[in-house]
Symmetry: none
Subunit: 147 residues, 4 copies
């Protein structure tokens, strides 16, 4: 038997709150998805003005980051023609996202879930995802120290 550490509903709310804060700083409304370590959707929030069509992108980014234990931004490099990960993104019916905006959430050294952001430019999406996860991991670390 093993124990898997997973984000819960409170964690997901916090991540979404942090992502909204980061998106507001850039003045870019975003789709925000949070998945647990198994890739199952925990929470989703579409900010007013975000493109509805790209909601699925946010989920795919979060799922990929959680599943591959890597930011989706880095996968885009590995999947370039001629690189060893070429073709990665067409697997799982094309649902493997290799655009920036998916970032795993690591707790005590293990991936406990991930966030996925979409609707801005890929650069903005990655920026919002990174900021939200950083803020979350700092808070989680300090909570562990205090608690």
């Amino acid at each position: 038997m093993k124990q898997v550490t997973m984000l819960d509903a409170a964690d997901a709310r916090l991540l979404i709150e942090f992502a909204i804060g980061a998106a507001d700083m850039l003045s870019v409304p975003q789709n925000i998805a949070v998945v647990d370590a198994s890739g199952a959707l925990l929470a989703f929030h579409r900010m007013d003005g975000a493109k509805p069509y790209t909601g699925d992108f946010a989920i795919a980014k979060a799922r990929t980051a959680a599943g591959l234990h890597a930011p989706t931004e880095r996968l885009g490099e590995i999947a370039l023609p001629g690189q060893r990960g070429f073709g990665l993104n067409t697997l799982r019916s094309g649902d493997v996202a290799i655009l920036g905006g998916g970032v795993p959430v690591t707790v005590s050294g293990a991936v406990a879930g991930a966030i996925g952001i979409s609707s801005g430019t890929v650069h903005q999406d990655a920026d919002v995802a990174n900021r939200a996860v950083q803020q979350f991991e700092i808070q989680a670390a300090s909570a562990q120290t205090i608690g």
Copy 2:
């Protein structure tokens, strides 16, 4: 051109809050999905203890209720063998939900979106969905009267 009224992010948050309240009353953790009038996902919240596997059921229920302007519970009756809607649920790759738990949200006589609930019994899912939508529609109506 035509104008379509759709739920926004604040509406979605309210619906999720009402659904959490109704689920807590039944002591049944639930997956809660809110979609806009076009069926696009607006918000999702998985309560701690809800079954991750059924998250997609909540989204499918919400989408179906918004798309067909009917509670999914009623569709189950229409789709019985021998009824005129028999076979409805296999369309769209089987993503048409005909189990209780999807309820449209009507604003000023038009469907503006829907909620979908999953993880409890079908009866509990439908109960939570109905309560959340009733509470939302009462509040929306009173807001219009005051505003």
Copy 3:
């Protein structure tokens, strides 16, 4: 080699015009799809007020009627539990429509295409589809007699 008789763009326009007329008589806005003998989409028209979500149903109905050379209404009977067509509707990823509203268009004894109607009740959908095809076949027959 063989020749396959197929509806063309002018036929499709005529079928859509006839379907709009029949839908207007019932005061029910409809999604109208016309496919050729191979099931490929020739024309689609969503009347104002018709449910966008069910657009795919109209296409599936038309495709099924053209492909199986039968009104979809009749398929619902064959696919009942215990009947020999039980399970028919889950084939092709569930895209085989067995609800009323799909009707083949027969020209000189051969299926040249089909129409599919959705958004009303199943009864209304079937009614509109039947009327449009009848009107079309009468016109086609008289054009052949005169021409």
Copy 4:
């Protein structure tokens, strides 16, 4: 609540008419799809001689242009290997079109829908789509001024 402006049936007919005109000028029969702001199909017309197989391409192009608020031609540049959007086109089961021929329709500054063209060369498809949308937007603007 929010209001979303969407193309209606009359707008779709006009766009198809303009696209037929542009296709006739190039002597290239085309598949023409029009979707609303949510990506739902509003109208489809296959001109005689257009390739039936590519009908779905026209729908995917229109849906992508409406969903991403950008001409699909531009997406092809963003999705080049080494660019930030690399991998975009495999998302949503590969239904994100990044070939020319999908163009959003903007009304009063907001995307109200899109057109998608297929069957010619990609250059011809994009040309027809651009001409149809330009003609439509000019007419819509002058109608607003007069009305």
